[in-house]
């Protein structure tokens, strides 16, 4: 009756489907006030003066504040500077004081009795600006003469970081039969969760305690940043609660100025303060993702063996740094550039750059989609240059299944190793599902009729379960990344799990319950998973990097082992047996029993009233000095990350007349290690593919030359719709990770990491007979049409 591995329906869905779930906007407190923030309309400007008289005079306005009123609050921290190098750090304040470096930076705030009054009054705050020239492109920002954003960052450079072996790679490229060079733009994306951000803060003057409800993927990390870094108060003065969250994709990990502002105001006005981001604000004030300009050089021999990969990237970080901004395009990008391949020489140099644009930070996949895009495009460029099948080039360079653990060359992973994998197996399955050879015949026939079909592969890997604390510390991360969990079995046998991890769509309440149900032999209904409130959950670093199961789940598993040991000891005492002779088994009905080996009459159910749960909770007759209750907390800090992999294959048809790309089929074979709930994994893969396809074909933040975001609404910024996507064909191989006792790897980001290059490779394949080698994303109809036109007229590039 095991439930692990079964598509159990999600425990959280009834409340979500019926509308009973409580989101931040649903929370109202007595005496609550509301705020509206005056945001800079300019991308780069000095604040000359602010006059709030007219706004303050509006009936219903409680107060108007500017940055000067919050000088006692520290600037926001950046706890993940790029590792091992100097970083010129510039982070935002609750409200900016002297100058703004991007459209949307807050400079004043109105507190009012209701939201509408606040929003009306904020338009009456008069700001005198001295407008400065702006720069939005990361590479251009480093040129001499470009507008300078920060005094401590000459040429707008935040940091220069590299990894791998420059000299060895240069030599390898020089000795290669061919070297292919290509500039790749990984355009800026806007995460666009269904629920925007928000915060409600309440301050109790008598004891100086803050309670903060906020849209957080990492409540404990937010509390840590509030206490140790921003307000300088101890942990017991701040409680962070993350209510139901309507999507985060990374953007809700970070500390933002508005959270600090709302919290500081709750003390200033002595009443609860609520801020809910409008959709329009979300476009300019919530972090964006990606935005790389990369020059890739890849060397190969005629047989398709890749000899070296050299990558030069300008990473746009925005006007100021978000919480982990420098860590994303360095550690999570450069260290992944070996992909699924045994590359003998690798070098990557990254320049992190300030520009007059919104802050850029982790967005689903975070660094790893950018890396996968470079690697998977590079492999296709080699195939195209040598006239080889991209499948063959991949196979030729794969890390062989018998080489794990595999450490990429040139100390690329700084001491870590790929845990396990069988890349050929996933590729074989995907090719089989696709009917690859048949498709190539169909493609040739279609081309003869003037129809443009294309196929693209992405044989990706990921780095997930981001954790090893000591390793991350060496990478510049200023904290740890272990997880913890507490498991309590109550007197009736019900089990409560509290986790420092946080669920905003991942289904923790179901997956963790499945784990507990199987391990302890209780029903799913008996297990309650609680999270997202720093009061009553053990510390954890939160949900991102596909780490909740691979790290947080293992902490739960460890607690369960301790519960089982204790249950055995109690049973041994009751049966007057030696503890070594007592075993904890889950019977065919899925009921957990402790029994004396070989003596079936000496057995007792654990998780029921009057079972071992009651013996333990009652504590009337326990062995020796044993403490009552089955209540165990465990921490887990893994030895390495996990390395999921797979093959995604996309088939497209390009309309030669309009340039429109239609996705005909999408096949995804993912290996995420051991699967706890295949339905939840499928759901994660579906959503990820949709986001990855959207980057390839439609999405893209656009700034004009003055730094104005001109794609700042749902009318102007494309997000994927279901009708634009085919039904995905999913397959799975299962290669357990040896790095944790569950064998899990992580499944939250595979889609966004794998899908983007599969789609671009497919479109380029469809146009390969026109000598098209590359098109930059997004592959909108106009861009594809222009490419077809330029080639049909004998052009070349």
């Amino acid at each position: 009756m095991a439930v692990v591995g079964k598509a159990v329906k999600r425990k959280e869905d009834p409340r979500l489907i019926t509308g009973e779930a409580r989101y931040l906007e649903d929370i109202y407190l007595h005496g609550m006030t509301h705020i509206a923030i005056l945001r800079s309309p300019h991308a780069h400007a000095n604040i000359v003066s602010i006059n709030s008289e007219r706004a303050a005079a509006v009936p219903g306005v409680i107060g108007v504040f500017t940055g000067q009123d919050f000088m006692d609050v520290n600037p926001l921290p950046c706890p993940w500077p790029a590792g091992g190098v100097d970083n010129n750090l510039n982070t935002p304040r609750a409200l900016e004081v002297e100058k703004v470096t991007h459209v949307g930076a807050g400079v004043a705030v109105v507190v009012a009795e209701d939201r509408a009054t606040a929003q009306d009054a904020v338009e009456l705050v008069d700001v005198e600006w001295e407008v400065l020239p702006a720069v939005t492109d990361a590479e251009e920002a480093t040129f001499d003469g470009a507008p300078q954003l920060h005094e401590n960052a000459p040429n707008n450079v935040c940091m220069e970081w590299d990894c791998g072996d420059q000299g060895g790679t240069d030599a390898a490229l020089a000795a290669s039969d061919v070297v292919v060079r290509q500039r790749l733009r990984n355009q800026r994306l806007i995460p666009t969760p269904m629920e925007t951000r928000g915060c409600i803060a309440q301050h109790e003057a008598v004891n100086g305690e803050y309670t903060i409800w906020m849209t957080s993927q990492a409540p404990h990390v937010h509390r840590l940043l509030f206490t140790a870094f921003i307000f300088g108060v101890p942990e017991n003065k701040v409680r962070v609660i993350s209510p139901q969250i309507g999507g985060g994709f990374g953007a809700k990990i970070f500390m933002y100025p508005e959270y600090v502002l709302t919290t500081a105001l709750s003390k200033k006005v002595g009443r609860p303060v609520k801020w809910v981001e409008t959709r329009s604000e979300n476009y300019i004030a919530t972090t964006h993702g990606r935005d790389h300009v990369t020059d890739v050089e890849v060397g190969a021999n005629r047989d398709g063996t890749i000899t070296g990969l050299k990558v030069r990237t300008y990473a746009n970080l925005g006007g100021t740094l978000s919480t982990v901004a420098p860590g994303i395009p360095t550690t999570l990008y450069g260290r992944m550039l070996s992909g699924a391949y045994k590359l003998p020489n690798i070098y990557c140099h990254v320049t992190g750059v300030y520009t007059n644009t919104g802050m850029v930070d982790a967005y689903r996949g975070a660094g790893r989609p950018e890396a996968t895009y470079v690697v998977e495009r590079a492999v296709d460029l080699v195939a195209s240059e040598l006239g080889l099948d991209p499948v063959d080039v991949r196979r030729k360079n794969f890390v062989p299944a018998d080489s794990f653990p595999y450490e990429p060359s040139d100390n690329l992973l700084n001491g870590l190793s790929y845990d396990s994998g069988n890349y050929d197996k996933a590729l074989d399955m995907a090719l089989e599902m696709t009917g690859y050879e048949d498709f190539r015949a169909e493609q040739a026939a279609a081309r003869a009729e003037g129809r443009l079909l294309g196929i693209g592969l992405s044989t990706y890997i990921e780095i997930c379960g981001i954790a090893p604390s000591a390793w991350m510390f060496g990478e510049g991360w200023g904290a740890a990344l272990w997880e913890s969990a507490n498991v309590r079995m109550h007197i009736t046998g019900d089990v409560v799990v509290t986790s420092g991890s946080q669920s905003h769509g991942q289904g923790h309440e179901t997956s963790i319950a499945q784990l507990v149900a199987d391990e302890l032999g209780v029903s799913m209904d008996q297990v309650h998973v609680q999270h997202s409130d720093t009061l009553g959950t053990p510390f954890g670093y939160g949900t991102y990097g596909s780490r909740s199961t691979a790290v947080g789940g293992v902490a739960v598993w460890r607690s369960l082992q301790r519960i089982k040991e204790k249950a055995r000891a109690i049973a041994a005492h009751e049966f007057e047996a030696d503890v070594e002779d007592v075993e904890y088994v889950v019977n065919d009905e899925g009921v957990g029993i402790v029994q004396v080996k070989g003596a079936p009459d000496k057995s007792k159910v654990v998780g029921e009233f009057m079972g071992i749960a009651t013996s333990a909770a009652g504590g009337w007759d326990l062995p020796g000095d044993m403490e009552p209750f089955l209540d165990e907390t465990a921490y887990y800090d893994p030895p390495d990350c996990t390395y999921p992999f797979g093959t995604h294959i996309c088939i497209v048809e390009v309309d030669a007349e309009t340039g429109n790309v239609e996705i005909k089929r999408y096949i995804a074979v993912d290996d995420v290690g051991k699967v706890i709930n295949p339905m939840i994994v499928d759901g994660q893969v579906h959503g990820g593919i949709a986001q990855g396809v959207a980057q390839a074909l439609w999405e893209g933040a656009q700034y004009d030359e003055n730094g104005q975001l001109i794609s700042g609404s749902m009318m102007d910024y494309a997000i994927p719709r279901a009708d634009l996507l085919p039904s995905f064909e999913l397959g799975r191989t299962e290669t357990p990770s040896p790095n944790n006792p569950l064998g899990v790897k992580g499944a939250g980001e595979t889609g966004t990491i794998a899908a983007t290059p599969a789609v671009v490779n497919a479109v380029v394949d469809a146009l390969s007979h026109l000598n098209v080698r590359h098109i930059d994303m997004p592959l909108t109809p106009s861009r594809v049409w222009e490419t077809i036109q330029s080639r049909s007229n004998g052009g070349n590039s």
């Binding site: 945001r39 309309p41 300019h42 459209v103 338009e123 329009s280 476009y283 300019i284 004009d704 003055n706 104005q708 975001l709 001109i710 794609s711 700042g712 609404s713 009318m715 102007d716």
Partner: protein, 150 residues
């Protein structure tokens, strides 16, 4: 952003020019204008408030209008700066009058506009269309005034 267009008047160049130089005529031709008063101590400069609807942004904009580079009866420049609805508009338009063969006058206008804030984010795609519509209304209103008995 650059915008341009041509509007044809049936009237003579002198008639069009004198209307273009008449603040009252200009004021009442601006769509949605609510206030248009001379700036103290300045010739050819006005303070203006207009109600504007452009894409999803609608409401009052307050600002200033300056007339310069006046070359009767052929050309002048209007410089406009306005603020409102979390947006800032600045720019200028050069209007040139040309006599048409067989009568009538062609007014060519070349504008350059910078738009910041909310209007830039949610209206950019529609601004050209909206600006063309508003200019048609502006010149249409002017034409009606020329024809109207004084």
């Amino acid at each position: 952003m650059k915008l341009e267009g041509t509007y044809l008047f049936r009237e003579t160049r002198e008639q069009v020019w004198s209307t273009l130089m008449d603040p009252a005529a200009i004021s009442s031709a601006i769509p949605g204008v609510e206030e248009f008063v001379p700036l103290e101590g300045e010739e050819y400069a006005w303070r203006a408030i207009a109600k504007v609807s452009m894409a999803a942004v609608s409401g009052r904009f307050a600002g200033q209008v300056h007339m310069s580079e006046i070359q009767p009866p052929t050309r002048y420049r209007l410089t406009v700066s306005g603020e409102g609805q979390g947006s800032i508009i600045s720019g200028s338009v050069v209007m040139r009058l040309e006599e048409k063969e067989g009568g009538g006058t062609a007014l060519h206008w070349d504008a350059e506009a910078n738009i910041s804030g909310k209007l830039a984010r949610i209206g950019q795609r529609l601004i050209k269309a909206a600006a063309n519509m508003m200019s048609k209304r502006f010149f249409g209103n002017l034409a009606r005034q020329i024809r109207a008995p004084a």
